[in-house]
């Protein structure tokens, strides 16, 4: 009997080592796997590359991870927020590397990674600073930028319900990057609010099939 449910968030971090590339779900705080990030901080792996839409809020979750000094580089679409002061300070003092990627391109690059494409031509960012030095091509009169896949060693995501095969559902707009990050990483760890019996999730309603998920951690009391 296969059981992907892992007892604790700390246990789930066992495989994460220095230098890993880690996708972290969430749009702002919605869908951010806060407890997994806390465990990752405790794991204290160094020299990490993090891919996430934002660069953390206040002194919670992703912001705390940056503060811990474990992160060498962050790839995101929107680092600067009203409460992203931890990132802002690290960036201005040259202590973290930043790659800004348009939000849709971030999603598309991870989708390319998860689905085995070698590269994609996207119209987004053509002619802008974010396409500087990148290959371009005009196809049927439209200008495109060549973008390469993002693939990662790990993904930490937050889902709603999960089962022992790793099937996941999400809750409202907390779905955001979860399904595409799960597909783009070699080892996906999902925190869920509830672990349900196998078969309790309607096969029509499963958003992330278990093939993309390797460990499921239940966070008690979480919504």
């Amino acid at each position: 009997m296969l059981n992907k449910v892992t007892e604790s968030a700390i246990d789930a971090m066992n495989h994460i080592n220095d230098g890993a590339t880690i996708l972290i779900g969430g749009f702002g705080l919605a869908g951010q796997p806060a407890e997994l990030i806390d465990a990752l901080i405790e794991r204290n792996a160094k020299d990490l590359t993090i891919v996430s839409n934002n660069a953390g809020n206040g002194e919670t979750g992703l912001a705390l991870l940056l503060k811990s000094g474990c992160v060498r580089k962050i790839i995101c679409s929107f680092p600067r927020q009203h409460d992203s002061y931890i990132f802002d300070d690290l960036y201005r003092s040259g202590k973290i590397e930043l790659e800004v990627v348009p939000q849709g391109t971030l999603a598309a690059r991870m989708q390319a990674g998860g689905s085995g494409l070698g590269a994609i031509y996207t119209p987004t960012a053509y002619g802008t600073l974010l396409a500087e030095g990148k290959e371009t091509r005009t196809i049927d009169g439209v200008n495109y930028v060549l973008e390469y896949p993002i693939k990662a060693d790990f993904a930490l995501i937050k889902a709603f319900q999960g089962d022992r095969w790793g099937n996941l559902t999400y809750r409202k707009a907390a779905r955001n990057f979860g399904p595409i990050m799960a597909a783009a990483s070699k080892h996906t760890i999902a925190q869920v609010s509830e672990v349900v019996e196998l078969g309790a999730l309607d096969p029509e309603h499963i958003i992330t099939p278990g093939i993309f998920v390797h460990e499921v951690v239940c966070i008690e009391g979480d919504k």
């Binding site: 919605a30 929107f78 927020q81 930043l98 119209p123 987004t124 802008t128 409202k172 990057f177 595409i180």
Partner: protein
């Protein structure tokens, strides 16, 4: 100087709302464009899209009904209308990049006469670049309308011959709504559709960095 009153933020939003037709799929950018939602006709089905995976966005909830998992791209609490749906970022940006969004309303620092838009980065040494969905929306939506003040706080024109600030997207703006006028960007250049009462065309031209045409 002639005697006129610039439009308030709400009045501009109202002008945009009047130009949105039933059945349109619309993305309202962060900031001023979000206000357009308040003036949409309640009796028409207009579909608001938020790039974080929501279609059929409804008005802000009562404080007691706020849900941290139900926010818009500006990270404000929202509601979902009956018939609304959730999806992941891949599908959400397929809607944008694939030309399925009829209209996107964006704020801007500058718009050039050819429709180039600058709205993501001022590029000063201390600024941290952050783009979000701005570049996807600019190139992807079927039509892009901009809401902005006609001139900057220093009185500089924000409608210009060519951009001074880093570009977000090339030739993508179709119409500009400012506190003074509504201007179409056409093959023939900048065409003034409408001005606030009491403003003369010459005065509008004097506050604009590129040649305007009367319709």
């Amino acid at each position: 100087m002639s005697n006129y009153t610039p439009r308030s933020v709400d009045e501009i939003a109202k002008c945009v709302a009047q130009d949105i037709e039933e059945g349109m799929y619309v993305n309202l950018g962060i900031g001023q464009p979000t206000k357009v939602a308040d003036f949409l006709p309640k009796d028409k089905d207009i579909f608001l899209h938020s790039e974080n995976g929501v279609l059929g966005m409804g008005p802000a909830p009562e404080e007691a009904d706020r849900d941290g998992d139900l926010i818009n791209a500006g990270k404000q609490y929202i509601t979902l209308l009956k018939g609304g749906s959730y999806f992941h970022h891949g599908d959400s940006f397929a809607m944008i990049r694939g030309g399925h969004i009829d209209l996107c309303v964006l704020g801007a620092f500058e718009v050039a006469k050819n429709g180039d838009i600058a709205n993501w980065f001022l590029g000063r040494p201390k600024d941290i670049p952050a783009v979000g969905g701005a570049m996807d929306l600019a190139v992807g939506a079927k039509k892009v309308y901009v809401i902005m003040d006609h001139v900057s706080k220093n009185g500089e024109p924000k409608i210009v011959e060519s951009l001074n600030l880093p570009i977000t997207g090339e030739k993508c703006v179709n119409r500009i709504y400012t506190d003074l006028a509504v201007i179409d960007i056409t093959e023939q250049g900048l065409v003034v559709r409408e001005m606030v009462d009491g403003l003369t065309f010459d005065e509008l031209q004097s506050k604009t960095g590129a040649t305007l045409r009367q319709p």
